[in-house]
């Protein structure tokens, strides 16, 4: 019997530990006056601190609400939480293309009624931002800061190689890249002039095709990767440069590279002479390597399409209210503040060096002038800057294309035209399966 009693005590202790430790996510704070709302952000580290400071300003001004901010949130986390019924009140996502899935599945609430009630005019947003915050007429997100890509270049290396200005065309880019590249004695890469590898750091399909002016879909919403010649041109150029470096040498170079958002970032530590990167890098360099002598410029474009110069593929962060959020009204108030008022947008832009997303905030006097950053503001305003198509399958179709591209650049897909046609078919089928293509 003594053993039995001991057994029961152990059982009780284990259960007590269990009840104490395993908490149900989303347990409401017992707060007397203020309602607590939870905000989920995809930022981390220093950037998260910037967001938190801006949100704290709002928090202090509004005593009826208390805001809990969580960072390092990914798309999967948001989706999983909504499915499980533990959604935050306000969620933010880096990838604007996800609006298709959020809207079509009803995961994020339709903000139309709120916009009407508070008489918010969506024309304060630039057209691209208006496009990627709605799907099939339903607006389920507000744009909160946008991203563009540009060319960063190391001024010291340029000077040493006798180059006076950043490249403007693809052929110039290729020539500069080859000139600036240095190799070790054993043939491995020491300094890479320009890394053409898709899938590494910020090199993505949409940013590369932006340099060639290609389109993903036609007016009917069908995938035109095979029909639009820009794709083949871009892929052939990209592969020829990859081959010049040596595909496996590039992989090895990447394996020894520091992580993109760490202080050992390849460009910041002088292993890359030129780099395609987003406007946020300006803030990172200022924080981590303030002494770096660098310049920023628009991305080089196809020699045959000089009119594209100064534009870039656009991306934006979107913020919305999950459909099963518990405090939708308070969340909307915060959302409206963050996305439509000049002051918070300018503040965030200064801290994060992201592009503010209202026409008025772009011209706000609060924005601290910075010669590196102003280049990106101009790129954002360029009429040819565009964003990827929004579909009900979110970013899924891009993954299909990336799967093909990684094989192509490794030389494992010989038939470019046939391969692109196949990807087109798969994308169309996938969009149909997801219940809706491009509207």
């Amino acid at each position: 019997m003594k053993r039995g009693a001991m057994f029961l005590t152990v059982l009780a202790l284990v259960f007590a530990a269990g009840a104490g430790g395993v908490k149900f996510q989303g347990s409401a704070e017992a707060s007397a006056q203020a309602t607590t709302i939870t905000v989920w952000l995809p930022f981390g580290g220093r950037e998260l601190g910037v967001m938190k400071r801006t949100i704290a300003e709002y928090d202090n001004k509004n005593s009826n609400v208390k805001i809990k901010v969580a960072g390092d949130i990914s798309t999967t986390k948001i989706v999983a939480a909504i499915r499980a019924g533990n959604a935050p009140d306000l969620a933010m996502d880096f990838e604007s293309a996800n609006i298709g899935t959020y809207c079509s599945s009803g995961a994020w609430s339709d903000l139309g009624p709120y916009l009407k009630k508070d008489k918010v005019d969506v024309n304060i947003f630039p057209s691209a931002a208006r496009y990627y915050t709605q799907y099939k007429g339903k607006r389920c997100a507000m744009p909160l800061l946008a991203d563009v890509a540009g060319l960063y270049y190391n001024k010291k290396m340029f000077k040493a190689a006798g180059l006076t200005r950043p490249p403007r065309t693809i052929s110039e880019l290729t020539a500069y890249a080859k000139k600036l590249t240095k190799r070790n004695k054993d043939g491995s890469l020491k300094v890479v002039g320009f890394d053409p590898f898709i899938g590494w750091y910020t090199n993505s399909n949409d940013r590369f095709i932006g340099m060639f002016g290609g389109k993903w879909v036609d007016s009917k919403g069908k995938s035109i990767l095979a029909k639009d010649p820009a794709w083949a041109k871009m892929l052939r150029w990209q592969k020829s440069l990859v081959d010049w470096y040596g595909h496996n040498k590039l992989v090895k170079f990447h394996a020894g590279e520091g992580d993109e958002y760490s202080s050992s970032n390849g460009f910041e530590s002088g292993k890359l002479a030129m780099n395609l990167d987003g406007e946020w890098r300006v803030a990172f360099i200022a924080a981590e390597k303030p002494g770096l002598a660098y310049g920023t410029a628009p991305l080089p474009v196809d020699d045959a399409k000089p009119g594209l110069y100064g534009s870039s593929a656009l991306n934006g962060s979107i913020a919305g209210i999950p459909k099963n959020a518990k405090h939708k009204d308070q969340a909307w108030a915060l959302l409206k503040y963050l996305t439509t008022q000049d002051h918070p947008l300018a503040q965030l832009s200064n801290g994060l060096r992201n592009v503010p997303t209202t026409k008025s905030s772009l011209a706000s006097p609060e924005i601290k002038p910075d010669k590196h950053f102003s280049v990106f503001l101009k790129i954002y305003a360029h009429p040819k800057s565009s964003t990827v198509p929004i579909t009900a399958a979110g970013v899924q179709y891009q993954d299909l294309f990336t799967s093909f591209v990684t094989k192509w650049q490794a030389g494992h897909a010989k038939d470019l035209a046939g391969g692109l046609k196949k990807v087109d078919k798969q994308i169309d089928a996938q969009l149909k399966q997801a219940g809706g293509g491009v509207p």
């Binding site: 530990a17 981390g44 019924g85």
Partner: protein
Amino acid sequence: MSSASVPVAAPLVRRKPPWSVRRRRFLIGVANHSLLIVAAALFLAPFVFITLTALMTNNQALSPQLWPRPFQWNNFVDVFHQAPLLRWALNTTMYAGLATLGLLLSSIPVAYALARLRWRGREAVFLVVLIALMLPPQVSVVPIYVLWAKLHLVGTLWPLIIPNWLGDAFTIFLLRQFFLTIPEEYLDAARVDGCGEFRILTTVVLRLAKPAIAAVALFSILYTFNDFFLPLLYVGENPHNWVASIGLSEFRSVHQVQWNLTMAATLIVMAPVIVLFFLAQRAFVEGVTLTGVKG
């Protein structure tokens, strides 16, 4: 070999084999040992490298250098600042403890019923239990996830713990095999004495089955400790409830993978299991005999 009354040449006596045979056997033995030493070295080498890396600075870990200069013992402390290892340990212990407890409580009666109670359809049901073993979890994962989501339990460890309280096919199989070796006479003696089946189970069988139960509990603890897929699914999005396996796979500092700290964390996560092994070697061996050899 008994010496018969029938006359035979001479009883077979183990004489010392000739020198050539002995030398050949010795050489084979040496070759065997050398191979074993090389193999053992290869098997232990990763541990050595991981430990060496755990003692390097981050920059050294990113370089091809093999020997830490200097020895950063404080890495093992830094790891705890970097990531909530204690929180993970608590979650893992809770998962392992509650799951194992439930597993034992629910599987023992079932195994007993399948081994020592006689009823029609017993063997057929046992076959069904075995079939459940063959099923990859991915087959049933989607509807079960939907079920737990509707119950608002996704994000907690309960979807992992609760199924163990309703029997586990592998445990039932092992225990049933063991119960089959308990002589029927013990049980009959108890029955004649008027004991109900439940009392027989708790008094006679449990006492005899202690090594088997220890082995099964050990397997369960190991399994829950190593489990990754199900925790990824259910608590992957809720860092507060991460278990050690998930935490380790997501071990990053703010924006980068610090390999020296990651290897230190890897060692720390490996340590409890290895300690457990050395403490409970006998139970391990028992468990092994339960599984394989008895077919």
